[in-house]
């Protein structure tokens, strides 16, 4: 066998690297993409479920999109908006010559009609709609949006691929949507419930000229067809990825990593760091958790380190930190984090006694839909018992949990999780009004009022510290830490960029 000296091998590798980096993924082929289930809808305004956004972001586009650093940058908009001096009027130009899937050019009437629908239907749209005074088309490619108060998070709201502010052909606007005419690099072809959603390449797609970055920049449909297949069983997704049947398998259980790593050259594990955060919500309206002192005692009783270790095992899949936003991002702050991961049973017991806790049962609502929720609640229940609390786990299926959490009489704490988003006002919903938990206090109103009405990014970053401090003081919810996600792709799927809402433009299939 021919053996090359190591330095020759290195030279060979270095010589081929630039070409490898420059070589664009090949064009053509159909990708089989195993997703976690059937999408709730194909209308991203009708459902905030991530899966709906993941699929339909290929069909519909938004005025702005997040780049790789989570900045909201223009997508269908021509540039950043012109904002009036008082911060209340936004003028946005639409890119000229953008083709809709129906063949005609997109115009400002389409954009205005779509955004009005978003403000009527989508939860985030409704909150923007409350502050909207008027939204009008000014000519073919311009719109003017007037607000009653400055809206600091508007561009992030418009860029988010969940409950999306999608732009569609105005003549297709209906409820429910029956035809899906957008401007994205892929067109809707067919949906067969519980079997697949098929999208095909839109040949006259109008791409941006900037380099691809995150969800933003140049998008190119290299694959002929995207086949999103619902595969709710996580194990089946793993087996399908290992056998080569699926080119992409979304959200695998973290304990599948060794199998994927040993799966041979055909399959590649994808770890997306800081993918999301688990958090537990307290019922501040009724019952024992309406007592802020008891909530503070629980915060001291629990140990997030134990909870995360039990849930994820491998340290590559979690980060133990009390800051709600990762280090290096604009909203990174350590305010209040001295209350994080204390696991001090004695102090917690004293605090609970002082707050007037009389041994009432604490109902912990959780589900096994997400095994990590259940594991963390199990650990937490033990920690609470050690501190003299009387927890009672109520394990139900997800459909029951989402129903029960709407009734303040039947639970005290529930566990859930959210994607790690760049803008605090995007998640968790408890930072807004009316979400389960019903957190509404003067301190919240003050801190968030200032935060939401300030448009200067540097000032907002400072103001977030005050909000995070209020969360640690009033304990409406506890952010347990950050977790990474595991997915897998075929080594043939080239050009794939890991993302919270996986996308498959600029991705090709090797022959």
């Amino acid at each position: 066998m021919l053996r090359l000296p190591r330095r020759h091998l290195l030279a060979l590798l270095l010589a081929t690297l630039p070409f490898a980096a420059l070589a664009a993924p090949p064009k053509g082929g159909a990708a089989n993409l195993a997703m976690i289930g059937e999408p709730q809808s194909l209308d991203p305004m009708a459902s905030t479920a991530d899966l709906v956004g993941t699929i339909m972001q290929h069909v519909y586009e938004t005025l702005y999109a997040f780049d790789s650093k989570w900045n909201a940058v223009p997508m269908l908009a021509d540039g950043m908006p012109r904002v009036s001096a008082d911060g209340m009027t936004y003028t946005i130009n639409i890119r000229k010559g953008v083709k809709l899937h129906s063949g005609r050019d997109l115009d400002s009437q389409d954009v205005v009609a779509s955004l009005k629908r978003w403000m009527e239907m989508a939860p985030r749209g409704k909150s923007v709609g409350k502050d909207t005074v008027s939204l009008e088309a000014k000519g073919t490619n311009t719109l003017e949006w007037k607000f009653s108060a400055p809206s600091a998070s508007l561009l992030a709201q418009l860029a988010l691929p969940s409950g999306m502010a999608i732009i569609m052909a105005k003549e297709t606007i209906a409820s429910p949507l029956v035809s899906f005419v957008g401007t994205g690099p892929y067109k809707f072809k067919e949906r067969k419930p519980d079997q697949f959603v098929v999208l095909t390449r839109f040949d006259t797609y109008s791409a941006r000229s900037e380099a691809a970055s995150g969800y933003a920049g140049k998008r190119e449909a290299l694959l002929d067809e995207l086949r999103f297949t619902p595969v709710p069983n996580a194990n089946t997704r793993v087996e399908g990825a290992l056998s080569g049947q699926f080119h992409f398998a979304d959200q695998l259980n973290v304990d599948a990593l060794p199998r994927v790593e040993k799966g041979g050259a055909g399959v590649v594990p994808i770890i997306t760091p800081s993918f999301g955060f688990p958090y537990m919500v307290f019922n501040t309206k009724e019952g024992v958790m309406a007592n802020q002192g008891v909530r503070q005692a629980i915060q001291i009783a629990i140990g997030e380190a134990e909870m995360l270790t039990a849930a994820y095992g491998d340290k590559r899949f979690f980060t133990l930190e009390g800051n709600h936003f990762p280090q290096g991002t604009p909203f990174y702050s350590t305010a209040g984090t001295d209350q994080y991961n204390k696991q001090d049973a004695k102090r917690a017991k004293d605090m609970a006694d002082k707050a007037g806790y009389k041994g009432e049962t604490i109902r912990l609502l959780t589900s096994r839909q997400y095994e990590f929720h259940h594991t963390m609640v199990q650990v937490m229940a033990e920690q609470l018992r050690a501190a003299g609390f009387k927890p009672e786990m109520q394990v139900v299926d997800w459909a029951t949990l989402v129903q029960r959490r709407g009734d303040s009489k039947v639970w005290d704490i529930y566990m859930t999780h959210s994607g790690q988003l760049p803008e605090p006002m995007l998640s968790p919903p408890q930072l807004g009004e009316g979400a389960p938990g019903w957190w509404s206090t003067p301190a919240k109103a003050k801190a968030l009022g200032e935060f939401n009405q300030t448009t200067d990014p540097a000032k907002r970053a400072q103001l977030w510290s005050a909000v995070q401090q209020v969360v640690y003081t009033e304990v409406p919810y506890i952010n347990v830490g950050k977790f990474s996600s595991l997915s897998a792709r075929s080594s043939k799927l080239e050009g794939y960029t890991p993302a919270t809402w996986p996308f498959f433009w600029n991705t090709g299939l090797a022959k």
Binding site: P123, K192, A399, T400
Partner: protein, 319 residues
């Protein structure tokens, strides 16, 4: 043939069929609604506000009293309308029809495999009662009856789909796949179902054949000098068919309505899988429609089996 008796018997069974279906519709409705859970909260996603959820509930009529909802549903059924899926936003009839092909194909393939394995093995075990072959067949039948289908499915996936790469892991083929690709996807799950269900057929065939082979007319047939094959197949099997047909019918009905676990493990878009997903999504119209349809299939198959008894057994035919 006594046609009056036959007609009365069939009419009675038909009446019973309608009574069973009415009872099923009431039970299904009550059980579905007694279960906690909210389809609308799932549909709208995690970020939807409680107010949005309530408004959408009203739009779907889920805020109405249960009796009003039931009466509306029952009236629509009588008109032939099973309603609209909350989650899939399409008519329930359409949703069910889409699932019939995979489920029926899987059931027919699996039952054929079960019969092909079960009947010859059962006959052999009865003919060579107490011999090595009987013990081997009985052990295999016991093993088949006690092995969980999900476990066998996962093992076969590991061995033949992931390991050898001979079969696809899951699904029902790409969009627009031809019948041979669909068949390729069905072979492994059909083998799992067929093998496991053959256990029951083996035991019934063996027991039934043992009863028959001890009858006087079998001795007579042998004494007439008929070959052993002719005695066993023509005189034995023919008379042992009624209980075997019952098991065949029940197995087929069970597979049409209940291949839940196998369909889930292999991610086949069949009726069983649909019911599980509909329950998890609390898609009431689909759960109700699917269970009613499955109960209907059970009842019809039982009815047809009764008719087949008439053909296979003259004693039933002549009352």
């Amino acid at each position: 043939m006594n046609f009056n008796h036959l007609g009365r018997s069939l009419a009675g069974r038909f009446g019973g069929m309608l009574a069973v279906l009415s009872l099923v519709s009431v039970l299904v409705f009550i059980l579905t609604r007694l279960a906690a859970g909210d389809p609308i909260a799932l549909l709208l996603g995690d970020q939807a506000s409680l107010q949005d959820i309530e408004l959408t509930r009203q739009r779907y009529g889920l805020d109405q009293p249960l009796l009003a909802q039931f009466l509306y549903w029952a009236t629509e059924i009588l008109k032939g309308n099973l309603g609209q899926s909350i989650f899939l936003q399409m008519p329930v009839t359409q949703v069910l029809l889409d699932r019939v092909e995979p489920t029926l194909s899987l059931a027919v393939l699996a039952v054929s495999m079960a019969m092909l394995i079960g009947v010859p093995c059962g006959i052999a075990a009865a003919v060579w009662r107490g011999k090595l072959i009987d013990q081997c067949v009985s052990t295999l039948a016991m093993l088949g009856a006690s092995m969980p289908s999900f476990w066998m499915g996962l093992v076969l996936i590991q061995l033949f789909a992931v390991g050898a790469g001979w079969f696809p892991v899951s699904g029902y083929g790409d969009p627009g796949a031809p019948w041979n690709i669909r068949l390729h996807h069905l072979l492994l799950p059909a083998f799992v179902l067929g093998t496991l269900n053959s256990a029951l057929i083996i035991r019934f065939t063996r027991a039934s054949m043992l009863d028959i082979l001890n009858e006087d007319y079998i001795r007579t047939a042998r004494s007439k000098g008929l070959s052993e094959i002719s005695v066993v197949l023509n005189h034995g099997l023919r008379n042992a068919l009624v209980p075997i047909l019952t098991v065949f019918g029940l197995t087929l009905a069970l597979m049409i309505g209940g291949a839940v676990v196998t369909e889930t493990v292999f991610n086949l878009p069949g009726l069983g899988n649909l019911v599980v997903r509909a329950v998890l999504r609390r898609d009431y119209p689909v759960i109700q429609g699917a269970l009613l349809a499955i109960a209907g299939v059970y009842v019809i198959i039982n009815f047809l089996i009764d008719v087949l008894y008439l053909v296979a057994d003259p004693r039933v035919r002549h009352g």
